[in-house]
Amino acid sequence: MATFSTLAMRMLTRNLFPSTIKRVFGMAAPQLMKVFVTRRIPQEGFELLKQSGICDVQQWDSDEPVPREELLKGISGAHGVLCLLSEKIDKEVLDTAGNSLKVISTFSVGYDHLAIEEIKKRGIRVGYTPDVLTDATAELTVALLLATARRLPEAVETVKNSEWTTWKPLHLCGYGLSNSTVGVVGLGRIGLAIARRLKPFGVRKFLYTGQQPKPEIAAEIEGQFVPINQLAEESDFVILSCALTPQTQGLFNKQLFAKMKKTAVFINSSRGAVVNQEDLYHALSTGQIAAAGLDVTDPEPLPLNHPLLSLKNCVILPHIGSATYATRTTMSILTARNLLAGLTGQEMPSELQL
């Protein structure tokens, strides 16, 4: 009789998830790993976590960032955390998490919010989202460059303020890409994707700078490796596309702005802290450079009374580089898969080499 009921029990419960078994029958189920998700993320990724059957998912189910205390509570004893770039995963967070933490999966390609040394020390694996967001981010950077160079937000304001009276030959003239020199600071995946999109606009020359030349990558756009000073002097369009590191922190400052052309357009879609914002304000307001477009600032959001927001020749976007429906959905799936792989000791689709 006992055997029969055990067999029946097995047959009945075969298709139920471990968590359901545990709940319905009060039986001990395979130990679920604790996962903390720090924000509401696109459904596709979240479903992957829930349906995996290996984790017990806790979530800060909001569009706003998780407050620090809630983050510390949620991460305590967690095996895995799925976070956004708004969470600083530093020593305190890692200590609070404890020894169980095996994987951090970030919903971004940037990882300047992660204390990499501390993470490495503890043998924690990190997943991130390169490649899947390259197209959307390169596209947004070009959108920002064109909006800045061709003065689109200014033009829209003019119309709304009833200043558009008629077609005028010299009204709202901007700077075109035809026959220009474009300088890319940091010719990585995104930098190359940006340059590739600019090529058919008639760019005459591509320059790039970084830690070392990348001839194989640069060949596609016939890019010339130059020191940063030369890039600043010769470029009609300067585009920042590098990671934020101790070496690039505050890289673009008054020294470099002073070398740039008066007609130059400056674009940053990498990280805000690569630019000295006070120096940028000075360069823009004194006509040292023609215009700037920023998708990233320091801090984010930029306070409403920040002087850069008052300049007609400065376009500021609220960090929307990868913001397309398709890309954010793909990022959520990749982030979930990175996390699950980290929990089960398998190969991650995109692991950050520490």
Binding site: E139, R150, P153, V159, H171, P200, P301, R328
Partner: protein, 355 residues
């Protein structure tokens, strides 16, 4: 001493007389020179060419605003050449006012819907315009507008200024990307091809186009497939209008077309406002029949700020700035000037519109 003074004075008189005579001669010569009227303050490159030619007497409405119609009628009387911009209607009435000496109308634009071609042809007046020199700038602005619309640039810039920008959020201000999309071009001419060439590296999967008939030479440059207007509407993720305004294309973009489009589609017009039925566009945008629209041209221009299209977050309107780069506007001005001078000399014009 008095003798020397008297001869000095005489010399001065003579020299003054000679200068005065020269001036008189010059004035007479100038008055015999062909007369050119320039209807606006135009970029310096063109004025320089006209002045340095020494070939014509130039009068100009030296203002950033259009010359009033009545004033224009007065000023064109008896002229040989007219250098105009697209705000002047060159019709029978105006041509009558100008009189029989008028041999050339040179417009600083590639569009010529403001010119009565029949009337010009009847009177044997030659027409110059400015194709090619503005193709790059216009294609560039069209793509700027497309990206501004699909990636919600203006909306986003506003959020950064009005306090809407909180912290990074996963689905906030998401737009539609060009990767794997189908781009449809209504009117595949020079500008249409230039647009397609620039969109290619954004990962567009397919280019389709419609036109009065297939245009294989142009289409092959960008591997675009010829389709009907219906198919263009149904299949395009991005529909870009690049055709001239003619009787056939007047309001070709109307409710019939919009109703066939995808509700994720982006509609862009940098050709002429008259190609679009603006009421139908408003309905399509406000009901979610299409996702967004970007317009560089409207009816009228300027569009009154009370127009309902301005109320829509998913509609971006620019004040007709497609060719507005310093180098392009100067090139247009120079070309229009050279067109005038060539016609005055009865020579081949750099860019003549075949009537």
């Amino acid at each position: 001493m008095w003798g020397r003074l008297r001869s000095g004075l005489t010399k001065a008189h003579v020299s003054e007389f000679r200068t005065w005579a020269k001036l008189e001669t010059m004035q007479r010569v100038m008055q015999e020179l062909p007369r050119v009227y320039v209807t606006r303050r135009v970029p310096p490159a063109g004025m320089k060419i006209l002045k340095q030619s020494g070939m014509c007497h130039i009068e100009q409405w030296d203002s950033d605003d259009p010359v009033p119609r009545q004033e224009l009628f007065k000023r064109v009387s008896g002229i040989d050449g007219l250098f105009c911009v697209l705000t002047e209607k060159i019709d029978a009435e105006l041509l009558d006012a100008a009189g029989p000496k008028l041999k050339v109308v040179s417009t600083m634009s590639v569009g010529y819907d403001h010119l009565s071609l029949d009337e010009l042809r009847k009177r044997g007046i030659r027409v110059g315009y400015t194709p090619d020199v503005l193709t790059n700038a216009v294609a560039e602005l069209t793509i700027s507008l497309l990206l501004a619309t699909s990636r919600r640039i203006v909306e986003a810039a506003d959020e950064a200024k009005n306090g809407g920008w909180g912290t990074w959020r996963t689905m906030w201000l998401c737009g539609y990307e060009l990767s794997h999309s189908t781009v449809g071009i209504l009117g595949l001419g020079r500008i249409g091809v230039a647009i397609a060439e620039r969109l290619k590296p954004f990962g567009v999967r397919k280019f389709i186009y419609t036109d009065a008939g297939p245009r294989p030479e142009l289409a092959n440059k960008v591997e675009a497939e010829y389709v009907s207007l219906d198919i263009l509407a149904k299949e395009s993720d991005f529909l870009i209008v690049c055709c001239a305004l003619t009787a056939e294309t007047q309001e070709i973009c109307n409710s019939s077309m919009f109703s066939k489009m995808k509700n994720t589609a982006i509609f862009i017009n940098t050709s002429r406002g008259g190609v679009v039925n603006q009421d139908d566009l408003y309905k399509a945008l406000s009901s979610g029949q299409i996702a967004g629209a970007g317009l560089d041209v409207t009816v009228p221009e300027p569009l009154p700020t009370s127009h309902p299209l301005f109320k829509l977050k998913n509609c971006t309107i620019l004040p007709h700035i497609a060719s507005a780069t310093y180098s392009t506007r100067n090139a247009m001005s120079a070309l229009a000037a050279n067109n005038v001078l060539a016609a005055l000399k009865d020579e081949a014009m750099p860019k003549e519109l075949k009537l």
